[in-house]
């Protein structure tokens, strides 16, 4: 049964004349005869969280890698921070990528480096106007690891950590430079529910304390639900449910956009309410059956 595309019009006008952090314009990615992404278009705006659902092999990770130029679009154009990176030279991309934090599916930690060296890596290797002093690097490593509650693991190697801890170190490395955009590739994949919730709570905390835009690839509805329905209260240092009164200034769900990929096509883009009320059978597979606000 063909899946009906219900993509709404592009929200070009959003941001009061500002520019999106990321823009996909009719992007397709092809490997030989296999098409991984087909005609995908969307904008990611400052402060926005996008949650991308899709079955295994639907092109979620390909989309994230294309967004930062790790994979090249076969057709269409990709913009990052207003710059067209579609055909940019690899060396020219390093500067732009330094403004994006990335958490890879398995953490992507360098196994020959300690936790502290892994977290310090972006600080020491990215193209910055000035290299931070060693004291500054040490301070920011500790700060990032304290954020993910792993400040006691400085001298450990990734192989000495559990899967959840590796993922948390990956988050620390992604946010240590305080980038305005953070991409998370399946942050909860393969983790038990308790650890998965801890990871998502950290991502929500990072979003609400640093005000960064996020794109989260996942196949767990709970992950998107947590991002839309909860926000981190810095005073009480815990996540709290947000008010869903229309137009409420504290309603984070307004800044959370859900997308669903099916065989490389973007078949849904919309709010949590629109997602939960979708009648598309493929889209509904990603919505918890008891979801839906009365």
């Amino acid at each position: 049964m063909p899946i009906e595309a219900i993509i709404p019009e592009q929200k070009i006008s959003r941001g009061n004349g500002g520019q999106p952090l990321m823009r996909f314009e009719h992007v397709s990615v092809q490997f030989d005869s296999d098409v991984a992404l087909k005609d995908v278009s969307f904008d990611l705006w400052p402060g926005e969280t996008r949650v991308l659902f899709g079955a295994a092999g639907s092109g979620k990770s390909v989309l994230l890698k294309t967004a930062i130029g790790l994979l090249r679009a076969s057709a269409g154009r990709v913009f990052l921070f207003g710059e067209d990176i579609t055909h940019a030279e690899e060396r020219d991309l390093f500067g732009i990528r330094s403004r994006v934090g990335v958490l890879f599916q398995e953490g992507g930690l360098f196994d020959s480096l300690t936790v502290a060296e892994n977290v310090a890596y972006p600080l020491l290797n990215q193209q910055a106007a000035s290299q931070p002093s060693q004291d500054e690097v040490d301070r920011r490593i500790e700060e990032a690891l304290r954020f993910v509650e792993l400040e006691h693991t400085l001298d450990k190697f990734p192989s000495e950590l559990s899967g959840g801890m590796r993922r948390r170190v990956g988050i620390a490395r992604a946010i240590v430079t305080e980038p305005p955009l953070v991409l998370y590739d399946s942050p909860t994949a393969g983790l038990d529910p308790i650890t998965a919730n801890t990871i998502m709570a950290l991502i929500a905390k990072e979003r609400d304390t640093k005000d960064a835009a996020n794109m989260i690839v996942t196949h767990r509805y709970q992950d998107g639900e947590l991002m839309a329905d909860f926000r981190y209260n810095a005073r009480s240092e815990r996540l709290e449910p947000v008010s869903h009164e229309a137009g409420g200034s504290g309603d984070k769900s307004l800044d959370t956009v859900f997308m669903v990929l099916c065989e490389g096509r973007l078949v849904f883009e919309g709010s949590q309410v629109e997602l939960e009320s979708s009648r598309d059978p493929y889209v509904r597979r990603f919505v918890r059956h008891d979801a839906g606000r009365g």
């Binding site: 890698k65 790790l70 390093f94 990335v102 890596y121 972006p122």
Partner: protein, 263 residues
């Protein structure tokens, strides 16, 4: 008939597409690795670490193989030379065989077996665990960080290892000549030294330098294009060693041909 020829041609093109693309990728990687020699940043620490791994790490096996190569050449050649009553010429024979051919080729094959495989498996593991992608995403050129230091380190250490292998091999030959063939040190070392021409020394040092590029770049090339998890890492390692050894033999033939023509 025409359709059959056409489909045969297409099949041939399809068959050739993958190896041609691989050769093209290899030259692109090599070009970028060479270009990085003059472009910052330079990772001096990584170069010294790799020199330690490749150079110092290979030293025991190179010494061992070099010594026994010299011993075996002397034993074999002494039999042949005794037929013509020319056992005293064993020194020059060992010298020329080692310096021109066996020293560079055997040392490079050993380093290929030890380090091309090591490089391919290390980089291959990094590739399949997304560490290479992470490096690119974090603003580092993996070719600059991983390939160029390994290439520089191999090019710096392989000629030195070859000199050591040649020296130890000559010493091994001397042990046999002295204790078994009853030659005096002068009878062994003096003609061996006198036979050595400038052409031989250049050839003996150019070969390991060229082979060093092959060993390092082939290892990096197969490592960086690894796919298919741990099985893919194993496959990349095997391919790297086989390709490096084959290229060493092809190139030693070409270089020898050039030097034979020159002399």
């Amino acid at each position: 008939m025409v359709a059959s020829d056409s489909s045969g041609g297409e099949r041939l093109l399809d068959f050739l597409k993958a190896p041609v693309a691989a050769i093209q990728d290899f030259f692109i990687l090599s070009g970028r690795a060479l270009k990085n020699l003059v472009r910052p940043p330079h990772y001096a620490d990584d170069i010294f670490i790799q020199m330690d791994v490749i150079g110092v790490g290979s030293l025991p096996i190179v010494i061992l193989v070099g010594f026994f190569t010299g011993v075996v050449i002397t034993m074999q050649m002494s039999r042949a030379l005794s037929t013509y009553g020319a056992v005293s010429q064993v020194g020059p024979v060992v010298m020329l065989t080692l310096v021109r051919e066996l020293g560079p080729v055997l040392t490079s094959i050993l380093v290929a077996g030890r380090n091309a495989s090591g490089i391919a498996s290390e980089l291959g593991s990094m590739k399949v665990t997304e560490q290479i992608d992470a490096m690119r995403a974090l603003g580092t050129d993996p070719i600059q960080k991983l390939v160029t230091p390994r290439m520089i380190a191999t090019c710096a250490t392989l000629p030195l290892l070859t000199i050591i292998a040649d020296t130890v091999g000559l010493f091994g030959g001397f042990i046999v000549a002295y204790f078994s063939l009853r030659l005096t040190p002068g009878q062994y070392w003096t003609p061996a030294y006198q036979i050595l021409a400038y052409n031989d020394v250049v050839q003996g040092l150019l070969k390991p330098f060229v082979f060093a590029f092959i060993v390092a770049l082939v290892g990096c090339f197969y490592g960086m294009r690894t796919t298919g998890g741990t099985q893919g890492v194993g496959r990349a390692t095997t391919q790297a060693v086989v390709a490096a050894v084959v290229w060493i033999f092809v190139l030693t033939t070409l270089i020898t041909r050039v030097f034979v023509n020159i002399s």
